[in-house]
């Protein structure tokens, strides 16, 4: 599936005030992927999922190329949940999708599943944000200096996946565009979680009815893996998997194990 075409669709939502760009790849039943704070990147994990699923990945408002000011059409988290719900509805899926969300996208997936319990058939949360424990504070990734990000996101900052993520493009113009895009994406997603990424999800998680898989890296330096159990106890019947020797992005740092877990779970 590597190198397969990624279709791009624009769906109008929010009473015509916002056009959301959605990237679609692969084939099979629908799988909604909600990206992390840094924006949408079609990584090997998504490419692999595309073998069995039609991966449908909306871009968070403001993070789509050429439309940065779109973020200002969405005021708060409630707006944002409704915007995503409208976008999924506008895609006209023939059956309820399964959903996978990573980090910020994990919180969004959980918010959507709590708001509209029939929206997703199954739910996979990869190290989601959204809860807060005073004894285990979540690192402020938005303020983390760029040179400290590899160690925040990966157990082994020297691993190939980390190198691939943090090696800037050779072309200086592309490098500037990539850095600026990353910074702006952190600002656009940060709008809904600054200054503390806890906006009441703990009071809403009981509404999630979709069978849920929670995957966490044991050595997550951004959100301690203790949060896996916090999600697990609040979502009835959910399953928690902790991967050893793994940081905040299990689908990249422990790609094979994570893919096997997700595939097995989604196949039901």
């Amino acid at each position: 599936m590597a190198g397969a075409a990624i279709e791009e669709r624009a769906v109008e939502v929010w009473g015509g005030r916002l056009t959301m760009r959605v990237r679609i790849a692969g084939s099979g039943p629908p799988l909604v992927y909600l990206h992390p704070a840094a924006g949408l990147h079609f990584d090997p994990f998504l490419e692999a999922l595309g073998a069995d699923w039609t991966v449908i990945a909306p871009e968070h408002p403001g993070t789509s190329a050429g439309d940065p000011e779109a973020i200002h059409a969405v005021d708060d988290l409630w707006d944002l949940v409704l915007v995503y719900q409208e976008a999924i509805a506008a895609l006209g899926l023939e059956r309820p999708a399964v959903a996978v969300g990573q980090s910020f996208g994990g919180m969004m997936a959980a918010e959507l599943a709590a708001h509209d319990p029939a929206l997703f058939e199954r739910l996979v949360l990869l190290a989601p944000i959204g809860l807060w424990r005073e004894d285990r504070p979540i690192a402020n990734w938005i303020m983390t200096p760029p040179e400290e990000l590899p160690a925040l996101l990966f157990k082994d900052p020297g691993c190939a996946a980390a190198q691939a993520m943090f090696t800037p493009p050779e072309d200086p113009g592309e490098a500037v565009a990539a850095t600026a895009g990353l910074v702006w994406a952190l600002g656009c997603t940060g709008k809904f979680v600054w200054p503390i990424p806890e906006k009441g999800l703990s009071r809403r998680l009981h509404r999630v009815r979709a069978p849920t898989l929670i995957v966490w890296g044991a050595d997550d330096a951004l959100i301690p893996s203790a949060y896996a159990a916090e999600f697990g106890t609040r979502i009835a019947g959910s399953r928690v998997e902790i991967l050893p020797d793994c940081g905040h992005i299990p689908q990249l740092e422990r790609a094979a194990e994570t893919l096997a877990l997700v595939r097995g779970f989604l196949a039901g």
Binding site: M143, V176, V183, W184, G187, K191, W194, P195
Partner: protein
């Protein structure tokens, strides 16, 4: 420049009024990008205007990002929008003769009815910026004065920032009247250049090393606080607008003086340098800061005394603004201020 501008402004307003000093009171500012009680800000400034007998210049910076986002928890991407809404509310609270309801995004109030009202019919409003053209446009379109400062090293940044202001003014079709521009400088006056450098040097180093130098650029540029085109500009420009900010933490007095981050020397040197800044950048107002860092009280008093006695008369001999009435200066001090905020009110 202080953490509690209204408190200090009221003390200065009272002291200067009882001493009979006809000077403007200019708190550089209540940052409205962070303010969660904008009506209280409107009342505090109105009270300072009353205490000072109508000598307030109302400074409202958007605010430093770390202060708004970290100290006050405002999402960085909302700081500028909060500023604009708060500014609209403050200006209307000062000018609307009737109580009104306010249905804003950040503030909702059933009835706004401030007490006291400002003494001045048209309070001069000033905004301090670091070079963002959006802030310059905001100042021009709303009849605010625009204040820029020398801490980043005026030799490195001032000419480009003031040139940009003129470009923005030209594009907006608004004359860049020198009276609407101010330059704010840390100023140290000694008997001779050598003495000034020796006496004030350690205090300037303390100030730059432990004050602005201790704030990392990352905390001034938190993601979301700068628009996407702004980020690209800063990356491609290699942060030239921030001058020697990245060196401040460890800068010695030689470097501080070399980049023009402070104006230091004998009365003649200081007067010549400040007049040169005003002429060179087309600036009609100078804001001088005579106390900084670890300066002891007596040295501050010496500095104020020397500036007033030996520098000010030389500067007054210069013609700084143009001949037209000064429209960003309190009426009681000879200005003819006009109402501020037209564009913001139009956007409401």
């Amino acid at each position: 420049m202080t953490a509690t501008p209204s408190l200090i402004g009221s003390a200065i307003g009272y002291a200067t009024e009882t001493e009979g000093l006809d000077v403007a009171v200019y708190p550089v500012g209540r940052s409205l990008g962070k303010a969660r009680e904008p009506v209280r800000v409107a009342e505090e400034y109105a009270m300072i205007d009353c205490i000072s007998g109508g000598r307030l210049m109302a400074g409202f910076p958007v605010g430093l990002m770390f202060d708004a986002a970290i100290n006050n928890g405002v999402p960085p991407i909302e700081v500028r929008r909060r500023y604009e809404e708060n500014m609209r509310l403050v200006l209307r609270a000062w000018s609307d003769p009737e109580p009104f309801a306010w249905n804003g995004r950040f503030t909702q109030l059933p009835s706004v009815n401030i007490w006291p009202r400002p003494l001045q019919k048209a309070l001069p409003v000033w905004i301090t910026g670091v070079g963002n053209p959006a802030t310059m446009r905001l100042a021009l379109e709303n009849n605010f004065g625009f204040n820029y400062f020398g801490w980043f090293g005026s030799e490195l940044t001032a000419s480009r920032v003031f040139a940009r202001f003129r470009e923005v003014a030209d594009a907006a079709g608004i004359p860049a009247n020198p009276n609407r521009l101010a330059f704010m400088a840390s100023v140290c006056v000694g008997e001779t250049d050598e003495e000034a450098e020796r006496v004030y040097g350690p205090h300037l180093e303390y100030f730059f090393n432990k004050g602005p130098g201790a704030t990392s650029l990352g905390k001034l540029a938190i993601p979301g606080g700068i628009s996407l085109p702004g980020i690209r500009f800063l990356l491609e420009d290699q942060a030239g607008d921030f001058g020697f900010a990245h060196e401040m933490r460890h800068a010695g007095i030689g470097r501080i003086l070399e980049v023009g981050a402070a104006v230091v020397g004998s009365p003649a040197t200081v007067a010549e340098r400040l007049a040169g800044i005003a002429r060179g950048y087309g600036v009609g107002n100078l804001v001088v800061m005579l106390k900084m860092g670890s300066m002891p009280r007596d040295l501050v008093a010496d500095n104020v005394e020397r500036f007033a006695a030996s520098v000010l008369p030389r500067l007054r001999a210069e013609t700084m603004g143009d001949d037209a009435p000064h429209r960003w200066w309190p009426e009681r001090l000879g200005g003819s201020p006009e109402p501020a905020g037209a564009a913001l009110r139009g956007a409401a």
